[in-house]
Subunit: 414 residues, 2 copies
């Protein structure tokens, strides 16, 4: 199945909005074995949309259209699509009733504008959109499929997951394709590749391994294709377990989980309170941990001891340690972590101190030097990373690394 | 001038990379009065690239190509472009010498692969790329311009700013276009629109005002077009000052500055140390402040008092205040801010406590309720926001709001 993604909207062409929808759709389509052959963004004029539709269908079986369905742009897009197919618009009563019910619940009245939202091309099959007022629309012509969705990311994602992808799988049955993803952190792609070299070389022809790196994390995605779906699932289960054993010390989960979620889950499971003592990450570890809803159940809090004085004052790091070894040292992060256990009243604490850059480096401790410690009342472990010169990347990488060593410490000690 | 942006690379079509380059280019081109008519992403195969080039030139004067110049994809892209123009590749000696010099400085030797990086289509004008090894390439055919650049964002940006945009301005002289951008925070688009309603209605025909909102911030961009460049600059200077006076209480800067940068600049100017006491933002205010290089000069540190106990233990919030008014209250944030002044040894402190959601709301204090306080030893100001239900957005919005009230407090009190 070849897919063309067509994005409609001036806001993308003038750079006001980054098109993140297409990347998300590309990833989802790739997972079901569809090939995205092209992504096109056009202005929201009649001429541009018609041109986009004609061009899109040339090299694809399926054209997925997003955007151009906002309240003010509503009419032109639907009119252009109707015009493209040579049909009229009709009023869809069920859609109107649904919008009325939503507004009644909010104690508000619908306006004339809402009636116009219910005009749809006669040949459209409507896809229910539980996340918004505008339904998705499915069209078929000469064996090709066109789908129009709103550009609002969570509405588009809802429609893709619940309506579009299941229908595409039915309409374009492909050989089975199954993925198993192992989530790792703390080591690079090259390091992992070395560990799994033999495994990868011996993979059967119908399987492939992809390394998907992002700051401080690498997802290992094992994909199997073809044959009987049940057999494939069983084969993949065996192979992914083999892979897991090879990289086990670096794994924090399977599938789509985020590192902060995995950390939260293990804290809940072991009934532990955690805390953070941050210097160069400036609060970002606390931020990432608390992005997870309900994190107050296991995260008590943290200290951002950016200055020397606060390392001493809030965490009890000795002045002699700071003057002898400096703020970026194994000795200092050890004292920060131990101090945090007490100051924050937690079971496990992580401490981070480094030189994020671009300034502040020396020959002995260049920019990118970062020390970590993780401790409970019986144990302490320290780590050192030598990162690059990019401040934002150093902070992001160190943040992920801190969460990962915290996760592993809990896994190994409780 | 009509521009088509063509992005080459499988990584975009399978969703591994979000195409942020095109949005950045779209914004820059819009600023010089060019119209981006379409953005297209194609695979890195010969057929797809040829198809993309033919399609792109149909409706544009200029085709800007990014990507497909990586070390492994080098040959195919350049071969396809040469093939498209019907020319051969030639070896460019100066490029090779430059690469050799770079490698000598690093104490390394060039490889055969570097020689192939120096093969360029015969009809290319080379654009020096100080950020990488592959030069940009400029082509002209039948009055149309094609430019090929690497996909690495900082290399592309360097080439756009230093080579491509100046050349495009020469080759396609347009009427002058000038922008003045006023940066505001803390209030919404609708609120600002009401303030500047009359100003906007009375703008001369050659000027327009754009509202560019992002979480907690709105950029007001005044654009003037046409006539004599010097006169236009003078007119725009007058009008932008008028606009500034209308929205002054909400302004934190001009042009491209970030809120955290503006905060840093005013702290340096007034020689102040600041600190943070965060609850619902979980460390993100500290993180945003410390993303700015050199922030240790004015940011002493912070406390992430996520739990009740830590609000008391680290910031001295009275237990009676917490039990009587709750953690999300004016009384609590006041005590947090005052406690932070002492605990963090700073001149000015900001405190944030709220219900980020999705859980934790009550009828009296629904999800999205956030209290703020900013204090020095003589003054304290409090603020309350009622935000929405989205945890990530509430955190991001509250973070910007905290930095903004800190900025305004310093501006008004020092």
């Amino acid at each position: 199945m070849k897919v063309h993604i067509l994005t409609i909207g001036d806001e993308i062409l003038i750079g006001q909005t980054v098109d993140t929808n297409s990347a998300w759709m590309g990833e989802q389509l790739n997972l079901i074995g569809a090939e995205v052959v092209e992504i096109t963004s056009v202005r929201d004029t009649e001429k541009a949309i018609l041109g986009g539709l004609s061009h899109a269908k040339e090299n694809a079986d399926v054209v997925l259209i997003t955007g151009g369905l906002g309240p003010t742009k509503d009419d032109i897009t639907k009119k252009v699509v109707a015009n493209y197919f040579g049909v009229n618009l009709r009023f869809d009563e069920p859609t109107y009733e649904r919008i009325q019910r939503i507004f009644e619940r909010m104690g508000r009245k619908t306006t004339e504008n809402h009636r116009s939202q219910c005009m749809v091309p006669e040949n459209a099959t409507l896809l229910p959109n539980k996340m918004g007022t505008a339904p998705g629309m499915w069209f078929e012509e000469n064996g090709k499929v066109f789908v129009s969705m709103p550009g609002v990311p969570y509405e588009m994602k809802y429609l893709m997951e619940n309506e579009v992808i299941p229908r595409l799988k039915d309409q374009f049955p492909a050989f089975p394709i199954i993925h198993k993803t192992i989530l790792t952190a703390g080591v690079g792609e090259t390091f992992l590749a070395e560990l799994v070299k033999d495994f990868e070389a011996d993979l059967p022809e119908n399987m492939s391994l992809a390394y998907l790196p992002s700051l401080g994390e690498v997802r290992l995605r094992l994909t199997g294709r073809g044959g009987d779906a049940k057999d494939l699932e069983a084969e993949l289960e065996v192979k992914s377990r083999e892979l897991y054993e090879l990289v086990k010390p670096h794994v924090f989960g399977w599938g789509k989980a985020k590192l902060a979620e995995a950390l939260g889950a293990i804290c809940r499971e072991k009934k532990l309170m955690i805390g953070t003592a941050e210097s160069c990450t400036g609060g970002n570890v606390g931020h990432e941990i608390t992005l997870i809803p309900g994190s107050s159940e296991y995260f008590n809090g943290g200290v951002i001891s950016y200055s020397y004085e606060l390392k001493t004052r809030l965490l009890g790091v000795r002045e002699s340690t700071l003057s002898m070894y400096g703020a970026v040292s194994e000795e200092t992060v050890q004292e920060m972590a131990i101090g945090a256990l007490q100051a924050l009243e937690v079971d496990v604490a992580v401490a981070i101190s480094g030189i994020a850059g671009p300034g502040g480096g020396t020959d002995e401790k260049p920019v990118g030097t970062v020390w970590f410690a993780v401790a409970n009342k019986n144990n302490i472990k320290t780590y050192k990373l030598q990162l690059g010169k990019d401040r934002d990347k150093n902070i992001a990488f160190s943040t992920n690394y801190a969460m990962f060593i915290l996760y592993k410490f809990i896994q190994n000690n409780y």
